[in-house]
Amino acid sequence: MRRRSRFHRLDRRASPYLYVLPFFLLFAVFGAFPLFYTVWVSLFDWDFLAETHTWIGLANYTRLFGDYTFWNAVLNTVQILVLATVPQLVLALLLAYALNHRLRMPTTWRMSALLPNITSVVAVTIIFGQLFGRDYGLINYLLGLLDVGKIDWQAGKASSQFAIAVMIVWRWTGYTALIYLAAMQAVPRDLYAAAALDGASRFQQFRKITVPAIRPTIVFTVIVATIAGMQVLAEPLLFGGGSVTGGSDRQFQTLSLYLYEVGFTRWEFGYASAAAWIMFALIVVAALVNYLLISRLRRHS
């Protein structure tokens, strides 16, 4: 009897830790360790193909700060981030508003909104690459019908980043809209009832009740979209037909693509690790900035 209860006590004490251990163990090895090891690698002149690596301290970082290709990638990433995130969230809000009615066939509409999200990023980029083709793309053809003339989407900085932003917006708006929809559905009905009886139009209700009520959700999606937007890789890599420089003038090379170019085509692991760490710092900063911005905005409205 006593033995059983001792086992029982041990079981109750220890088993929770046992159950959560796998997660922390695996995360420690594959999530946390790489993060810190990146810093270590960045302090070396670490060519993957070389037999030895030499310690160079912060030299990678100083070189990075003077490297125009790196800052070009940073700028591109921020531009694409803004171009993709702002329309995405606004459109998602409006779409969620539209979905938040008593619709016929609600699941069908929701599924059609989510459809873009279930495809692979690679497939999406290829499809849009064809649509944005210079000579035979559908979009240029339509522009031709409207007498606007062909745009070389890949060649220009604004045009290529716009095309990539379109891909991202297309892919994520429905998903984000569903998240907003869920939050909207939790808003108590009597708020709307009261406002309607006070004479508020639907749109005013939307602005004054719905949006503030789901503010935490909006903040959350902004942060998540920022973190994801700073890591965009597949679109710039494949839009340029596999070119690791993101266009002939690096016009749409993002930070991730830069990381890939330096680390996995030039094999300069030390330099790439320094870039990766700066990228991490920038992501944190960007997420913070966006969080403050959104909170500030709410207060004004």
Binding site: F48, L49, E51, D67, Y68, T69, D135, D152, A155, G156, G241, T245, S248, D249, Q251, F264, T265, R266, W267
Partner: protein
Amino acid sequence: MRSRLLAGLLAVALTATGAGCGDDDGRIHLTVSTFGEFGYQPLYREYERLNPEIRITERVTRTEDHHKNLAAHLATKTGAADVEAIEEGWISQFTNAPNRFVDFNEYGGPAIKDRWPTWKWAAGSAADGRVIGLGTDVGGMAMCYRKDLLARAGLPTERTAVGELWPTWADYIATGLRFRQRVPDVAFFDGPSAIYRGILGQQRVGLYDGKDNVVVRTNPAVKRAWDLSAQAVSAGLSARATAFSADWTAGLAQGLFATIACPSWLTNYIAQQAASAAGQWDIATVPGRGGNWGGSWLSVPRQTEHPAEATALAIWLTAPEQQARIFESTSNFPSAVDLYDDPVILERTSAFFGNAPVGRIFADSVTALVPQYQGPRSGDINARIIDGLTRIEQGRDSPDESWRKVLREADALS
């Protein structure tokens, strides 16, 4: 229930991942990893007949991916094939890491050294004399042109006369301008890649000096290749097609451009892709007469389990007899010196190119060739320079602005 599912999945996983050729049927399995078209398939079958204990499988990948993977395999010491092909843009990167390869000198190298021109042998050797690569083919350089399009511009179409249109590149550009005046809806050449490679390949010193220093900034020959290409591109002579893209391939067939600088291996590509335009293409000499673009070597990574067999295979595949047969089937021009006076090579003509004496044309260009040293990052630097020319094509930069950026990129790669 779940555990059975798990077991089943594990089984699938093991069979899917663990598939590899073992030497379990008593034979020795060799893998050969190449890119593009080496023309080795029929040769493998013959080699297997001659050596029944050997089985050969080939892996073909896109050129850039192939070399990237080779570098990764060598560094991780696993995953490389038994025989790996290396192209001239990357050969220097790997001759700088001779520890990762088998030295052919230990497997009969000195005896066969004279098969190749000195420069080809040297390019496949490391600084300390270890031979890691045996030469396969050589590019040479000529100018392929469309007879029908030149005719529309009132230009001669017979190949000797065409060759006299452009003894120098400046003449080539001038001809191009004349062409465009009379046939404004057709471009004169395909894109920046071939013309730049053609001009650069004729220089004695290219992107690197003999000691692996990048000399893009200081070498006037590189600047010359740049200036001429930039001039041609700025003059609107280019069809702005990316080499080897589907648009470029379609352009070969549809007559999107009138000329294209073509090394020997490219002629096969043109013949295949532009089959519908048979009889319209012909070959003339290239401005400057000589030149080279391309050419490869076969190497044996040290991690192979069968060094003796792998080196024997590599030596056989690069033997003059085999090189002659490959020239017949794929137009990859041999690098074996003896063949340059061999009538079998010299008499060869190409039906697709209007019975042009391709053997003689390319043999001439190869003997006139000035061997150029390729450094470890030649491939990457050339890609950046071609990007620079593309920028001019796209109207993003002026030639000077673009050149400044090219220099910056070259500095980063040095």
